[in-house]
């Protein structure tokens, strides 16, 4: 295929738009060949998003509870992971001390934490937060650990050779080098957080999006299970595009354009 035709085709078939359109086409096909109650078609689900999710009483309450849990769980796991990761990156002793803890933390199934959380804390509004914090924080720690180790020692030596103060070295060398890792940690941390919160709400809550999905699962209502899921995915995409992408662009503006 010659290049001009190629560029013209990619203009007509924008990769992102085409990707989403394909998803809906496949969905429609799947719904045609399976029973209605197992796989409702996109139109039915779309209607349910509006009528059965957004316009339903208690919608804001459920979404708000889930959002609150995600934010609290994320903040706890992020600050714990950041402290541990920086400590491990900076000090050899603590690196060896904690390496196995982090690996164990990564291998414990999320379900186990969800169950343990309910057994320890009971069915309280913030029980899912416990599981989230425990599961997410090793992932955050690993990113900061790598980030601190990745700091270019030559640049730090340069600063020291020029008698630049320790504070300025931390502020202008360490922090900017760790920034991309911070962003990666935040992204991973956030995306795991919301998944875990949903699972946690199934087990240990009486409200929130996870609870609603579980509720409609008990009613054998695939339409509303999918509707809640679709709505939630949409919200998370907005977070990715309007928060993380923007943060990335403004924080890492110095990078060569090709990388962004």
């Amino acid at each position: 295929m010659d290049t001009t035709l190629k560029t013209r085709l990619t203009k007509v078939f924008h990769p992102k738009v085409t990707g989403i359109v394909c998803l809906f086409i496949l969905w429609e096909i799947a719904s045609l060949i399976t029973p209605e109650n197992l796989f409702p078609n996109p139109y039915v689900v779309g209607r349910a998003v509006i009528l059965g999710v957004i316009l339903k009483e208690g919608f804001l309450f459920h979404v708000g509870m889930t959002g609150l849990r995600i934010i609290i769980g994320f903040c706890i796991s992020f600050s714990m992971g950041m402290s541990l990761g920086v400590l491990m990156g900076a000090k050899r002793f603590w690196e060896e001390f904690f390496t196995d803890y982090v690996i164990i933390g990564l291998t414990i199934p999320s379900l186990a934490w969800a169950v343990i959380g309910v057994l320890w804390l009971g069915l309280r509004p913030l029980t899912p937060v416990f599981a989230t914090a425990m599961i997410v924080f090793p992932y955050v720690a690993i990113n900061f650990w790598e980030g601190v180790k990745d700091v270019d020692k030559d640049l730090v030596d340069m600063g020291r050779a020029f008698d630049v103060s320790k504070r300025r070295i931390i502020r202008h060398i360490y922090i900017p080098s760790i920034l991309p890792f911070t962003l990666a940690a935040a992204r991973i941390g956030f995306s795991i957080s919301w998944k875990i919160v949903i699972v946690g709400e199934v087990f240990g809550a009486s409200n929130g999006i996870g609870y609603m999905i579980y509720y409609w699962y008990h009613m054998f209502n695939m339409r509303l299970v999918l509707a809640w899921l679709l709505f939630f995915t949409f919200v998370m995409l907005l977070v990715e595009y309007f928060i993380f992408k923007r943060l990335e662009r403004s924080l890492l503006a110095w990078r060569p354009q090709a990388i962004l």
Partner: protein, 261 residues
């Protein structure tokens, strides 16, 4: 004879690793005259960079003394040009320079000084570019401007042109000589490149392989700017190169003797 700005006496450096000891610098004594261009020439891996790290205080010495002070006995300001430019990739050229200025200069003063030295290295129009937008040679020029902008008395240079292509390196050597003559800064230069040393130096200190000792000390009084086509320069290079081989041979002889015994 000018004032002796740097006086090194009986300098020794031992690295401790895996329970063993590695002698890197063995009893070095030399001094550096104010305003001179003094070069330490030695084979790769002989501990030249260790010597610089000790001079800047990044590493401790094991024995001996170093005295770096002006005739008024006050502490002398030093600065450093590295093998690679070591610029902060997230800062513009001008911010890279002001980064090393510390507290004694205000922001505006710092920027003014930065521009002044960028002009000296011919890069003032790139002040607001990021390092990745510059070529390797231009980045190294920024490194030189940064080092000069703290207005040092001594400029320590660690093989600053070894990572550049020969054409760029050649131009940079000529520019460095100009800058040196304009600023009157004392340059302490480290290289493994014999003709580079011959082209630029007032004085060359030959260092042997590890453990490094001073093999010979040459004063070079050819007029500047020196040219590679000049007959006298050619003779000088030949002489230096003969010395270099003699040094290598005697080193290998010692090695052989050590191995047979």
């Amino acid at each position: 004879m000018g004032y002796k700005l740097i006086r090194v006496n009986g300098l020794k450096k031992v690295f401790h690793q895996d329970g063993g000891e590695l002698l890197v610098l063995d009893n070095l004594s030399f001094d550096v005259e104010e305003g001179s261009f003094t070069t330490v020439l030695g084979p790769s891996g002989c501990g030249k960079s260790t010597l610089l790290n000790i001079l800047t205080g990044l590493e401790d010495l094991s024995a001996g003394t170093i005295d770096i002070s002006s005739s008024g006995r006050e502490k002398v300001k030093m600065s450093y040009v590295f093998q690679t430019a070591r610029l902060l990739p997230w800062k513009s050229v001008i911010d890279n320079i002001t980064f090393v200025h510390g507290m004694e200069k205000s922001k505006e003063e710092g920027a003014e000084v930065a521009i002044e030295y960028l002009k000296l290295v011919g890069l003032e129009e790139f002040a607001h570019h990021y390092p990745h937008q510059l070529s390797g040679g231009m980045q190294q020029r920024v490194g030189i401007a940064r080092a000069l902008s703290v207005e040092p008395v001594v400029l320590l240079m660690d093989e600053p042109f070894s990572h550049l292509d020969e054409i760029t390196a050649k131009r940079m050597r000529a520019d460095l000589e100009d800058i040196w003559q304009k600023t009157k800064v004392t340059i302490f230069f480290i290289t493994h490149d014999l003709s580079e040393a011959a082209l630029l130096s007032d004085r060359i200190i030959f260092m042997t392989q590890k453990p490094a000792q001073i093999y010979k000390d040459f004063t070079i009084d050819l007029p500047r700017p020196r040219s590679e086509e000049d007959q006298r320069f050619f003779e000088l290079q030949k002489k230096l190169s003969r010395q270099f081989h003699l040094m290598q041979e005697s080193y290998e002889e010692i090695e052989d003797r050590l191995q047979t015994s």
